[in-house]
């Protein structure tokens, strides 16, 4: 597997300009002859589909939801970063770049991160022009808030639903192109394979989730914007239907999968209430602007929060990280929560929780001001827990939230399969080993609005339009293999439900490949997953047929992929013999702080599929830090 990152020449701030100039152009009259398939309609997918259609390409866009507006980007709460420096507090493109490289624990590609910081400012302009109702001040200009891992206020927000408002902006742009017949939209349609012809991605296989029909679509290029794989843990903040299927099946067709072990555990989620739990709900990181995190000083203190005086509370983030305090980055805040719970100081019935307390800011600013900032989050918390966060502190605990790993892409966002591009959370590119808050929306939209419209042209200019049609045998073969898998899943009729397998896998992943990982645990996990996968193919029960809506069948295909992917993730975690960002190996730590090994692991690990996860081959893309120099990441 050849890994050419295609990082452009020049100084860091010149690289994107240089690349844009080097890229070949497709003239406007020729653009309409090329067809591009965009899979997924979240921030990355909707923005890519709309922008490519505006340029004149023929676009087909696919999503498994009933409407493109429902992609899980919609659930992002807190905000989106941009280096606008509207606060006059010393922000700049370079500072956002620096914070993101450092926040990612020096495991991201510098050139990509700098481009992201450059484009951040354009995203805000674009969203405002679309009518996205960001929070404003009385003078009518845009407001900002602070987020973890930064000492400037650069986060733009729309109450607690920035994701929905940005997605509706991208969805409205997409809808306009659908109305103009420049995009053909296929909702309730799931991608189940990539068709590779002569080494290039030239189409996809999909299943219509209403009729069960398995179809192929041919095109000149394919763009995957299918999100992350957090649901490998079963319980996560992801929507129930988020899955790894599109990227995993592309991996099986030859796309390298990079850093699957980099997963983000978000520090502020509502704790699990019981075995029936189907998903976890995030409480936005923005709450840490005004909420203070604490646990009782003494282990086993079961008094009510209000009865514990201040001198018997441990505001442990403020104590351990005085300069960043409650706004320490996510990986660090999560690990600190785990540490205090391990010490027996966790709160609530399970002892797996910490307090996020608004008492002081309510006293300082008044209840109304807090309600104006976080009203909908407080409302959501009260609904789920039946507790009032205005009068008692929230109980929170870390939960799986985001996955930094994904399909390997070069600087142009092209995977190791030519013609297959990957945007947003589905790729591995910008966040290294830990993503900072309010950077996911930024990356999804930067990729879709401002990167792929340029870089895909560079690929298409070298391709004859419509050179491959759906009659090539590769299409029928790929469709037949999808049909075969569907038939196999329906034919087992075993005793265990799909959810039962998924839940079991999730428990293995959370206990052995979650917040802390060790060689022993990972080896056990790999053996357990192999056993579970064998059981799945003998004993799963999928009722009904394939020619109608069949939600068990949809889930079964996704869980089958998670059962393979989970093993690769554990192998990646096993081979990365260091701690960095969200990847914490118990063997490499200094009193609970991650200890990186830059000598041996300053690279992205890229896995090549060889028929079975146990045979996958690990390749490396060496990372070079020419601007932000490798250093121990300190927030103290």
């Amino acid at each position: 597997m050849k890994l050419d990152s295609k990082i452009p020449s020049g100084a860091i701030h010149e690289k994107w300009s240089n690349r844009k100039f080097e890229l070949k152009l497709v003239n406007p009259a020729n653009k309409r002859k090329y067809k591009v398939l965009v899979v997924g309609s979240g921030l990355a997918g909707a923005s890519a589909a709309a922008s490519l259609a505006e340029l004149g390409y023929q676009v087909e866009c696919f999503c498994f939801q009933d409407s493109p507006r429902r992609a899980h980007s919609i659930a992002a709460q807190g905000g989106i970063n941009a280096a606008k420096n509207y606060r006059n507090d010393g922000d700049s493109v370079y500072r956002l770049f620096y914070d993101t490289v450092k926040g990612g624990d020096f495991r991201a590609r510098e050139a990509n991160v700098h481009r992201l910081a450059e484009l951040s400012v354009n995203i805000i302009d674009q969203a405002v022009a679309q009518g996205v109702p960001f929070a404003r001040e009385y003078g009518g200009l845009l407001d900002n808030r602070s987020f973890g891992g930064a000492q400037v206020s650069r986060t733009f927000y729309a109450r607690g639903q920035t994701g929905q408002q940005l997605l509706l902006g991208a969805y409205s742009a997409l809808s306009r192109q659908i109305g103009l017949k420049a995009v053909k939209m296929f909702p309730r349609t799931e991608m189940l394979d990539v068709v590779v012809v002569d080494g290039h991605a030239k189409g996809i296989v999909v299943r219509d989730l209403q009729t069960g029909e398995i179809r192929t679509h041919a095109a000149d290029a394919v763009v995957l914007c299918t999100g992350g794989y957090g649901n490998v843990f079963y319980l996560s903040t992801n929507a129930k239907n988020c899955n790894v299927t599109a990227t995993w099946r592309a991996h099986r067709r030859g796309a390298g999968f990079a850093n699957p072990c980099y997963t983000q555990i978000h520090p502020t989620c509502i704790p699990v209430s019981g075995d029936h739990q189907s998903k976890l709900t995030l409480m936005s990181e923005s709450l840490r602007n005004d909420g203070r995190v604490w646990v009782p000083l003494k282990p086993g203190d079961k008094r009510k929060a209000a009865d514990i005086p201040d001198n018997e509370r441990d505001y442990y983030l403020e104590r351990k990280y005085p300069s960043f305090g409650n706004l320490a980055p996510r990986d660090i805040a999560s690990r600190a929560a785990m540490t205090v719970c391990d010490e027996g100081r966790g709160i609530g019935d399970t002892g797996l929780g910490v307090y996020l307390d608004f008492r002081d800011s309510i006293q300082r600013l008044g209840k109304d001001a807090i309600a104006a900032r976080y009203g909908n989050l407080f409302h959501m918390y009260a609904k789920i827990t039946a507790e009032d966060p205005y009068s008692q502190p929230m109980r929170i605990f870390p939960a799986v939230h985001y996955t930094m790993g994904g399909l390997w892409v070069d600087y142009d966002l092209q995977s190791t399969i030519p013609g297959l591009f990957v945007c947003g959370e589905a790729n591995f590119s910008d966040h290294g080993a830990n993503r900072l808050g309010a950077s996911a929306l930024m990356q999804g939209l930067a990729d879709g609005y401002f990167v792929i419209p340029y870089t895909i042209g560079g690929y298409l200019a070298g391709q004859k339009p419509g050179s491959v049609d759906g009659k090539r045998p590769e299409f029928a073969q790929a469709a037949a293999s999808v049909a075969e898998m569907t038939k196999r899943l329906l034919g087992i009729r075993g005793k265990r439900t799909v959810d039962d397998f998924h839940r079991t896998l999730g428990k293995i992943m959370w206990s052995k490949c979650g917040m802390a990982r060790s060689e022993k645990g990972l080896k056990e996990a790999i053996a357990s997953i192999q056993g579970l996968r064998a059981d799945f193919w003998k004993d799963v029960c999928v009722l009904g047929d394939g020619m109608n809506v069949n939600q068990s069948l949809e889930k079964a295909g996704r869980v089958a992929d998670f059962l393979e992917f989970g093993e690769l993730m554990c192998r990646d975690a096993l081979e990365r013999r260091e701690s960095c960002g969200g990847h914490f190996r118990e063997e490499w730590q200094d009193d609970g702080e991650a200890r990186r090994d830059d000598q041996n692991f300053c690279h992205a690990a890229v896995w090549e599929h060889k028929g079975d996860p146990k045979d996958a081959v690990r390749h490396q893309e060496q990372l070079h830090f020419e601007n932000v120099h490798l250093a121990v990441r300190s927030y103290k």
């Binding site: 009518g140 409205s172 306009r176 103009l180 019981g274 189907s278 789920i384 939600q551 068990s552």
Partner: protein, 265 residues
């Protein structure tokens, strides 16, 4: 908790000629429900039990399970999203019901929302309405600096209140006329309160109203059931604003040009 559930089961998609198909209410007994479960988690438990008995699980739309994606869509005891105000089905918890309760669960019922299977309906009519003009015609890359367009905070807040719509369709399901005017009004209001949105205001009002009528949604007779059912508590003032925008468009505009609104993309 122990519950008796009556759930709409329908195996084939509704058609104009046969909306009901083989649909019927089926009765299920369910034990061991925890008050901390969400309504959808309760249905998950039912489905797990059905599969183990060899019966096909109940189909229903759901995704984010945190009240924002707008996928979930159940008529619970005759109320869209159930008894709690300002709450989607996925955020409704079983503690809102008493032990031993009998609960009736149906799909949204509206001509414009055909049933796909069981409790799943087709809401693509909403997408088509949006495609008719619920956007600002701006291409990627064209805009000026974000702060070049100041928006008074009061206007921005009003636009935001309308923009919180999650497109679930509860307003249509609650309305005896199956009117979509709260949904469409929210779109009109969102853009009408922003300077960026005012450039195309007349065309937008006309096109959205025409699209809504074409999809077969009914008219508003001021019962305000939609506002009561809306999980995001969109106020009915957006309907008044839509009517005002529509009348304004009729009053000030030349007859519509044959050219399509929205530019040439």
């Amino acid at each position: 908790m122990k519950l008796t559930l009556h759930i709409w089961r329908q195996s084939k998609r509704s058609t104009a000629a046969d909306f009901q198909q083989d649909g019927r209410m089926a009765r299920y007994e369910l034990d061991g429900v925890s008050p901390d479960m969400s309504f959808l988690e309760m249905l998950d438990v039912l489905n797990e039990q059905l599969i183990k008995k060899g019966e096909e699980p109940v189909v229903f739309d759901h995704d984010c399970r945190e009240g924002i994606c707008g996928s979930c869509s159940l008529m619970i005891d005759g109320e869209p999203h159930g008894p709690q105000s300002g709450t989607t089905t996925c955020q409704l918890h079983m503690r809102s019901f008493r032990d031993g309760a009998e609960i009736w669960i149906e799909p949204w019922r509206a001509k414009a929302f055909p049933v796909v299977k069981d409790l799943m309906v087709d809401r693509s009519a909403f997408d088509r309405v949006v495609q008719a003009g619920a956007f600002i015609s701006v291409n990627t890359g064209a805009p000026q600096d974000a702060n070049a367009i100041p928006v008074p905070k009061a206007d921005a807040d009003r636009a935001f209140d309308a923009a919180t719509c999650i497109g679930c369709g509860a307003c249509v399901a609650a309305c005896k006329n199956a009117s979509a005017m709260l949904f469409v009004g929210a779109k009109v209001s969102h853009f009408a309160h922003l300077p960026q949105g005012r450039v195309e205001r007349e065309a937008r009002a006309r096109n959205l109203v025409a699209a809504m009528d074409k999809e077969g949604f009914g008219n508003c007779t001021n019962q305000n059931e939609c506002e009561a059912a809306c999980p995001k508590e969109i106020p009915v003032r957006v309907i008044a604003e839509m009517n005002r925008e529509f009348l304004r468009a009729k009053a000030v505009e030349e007859p519509p040009s044959k050219k399509r609104v929205g530019g040439d993309g």
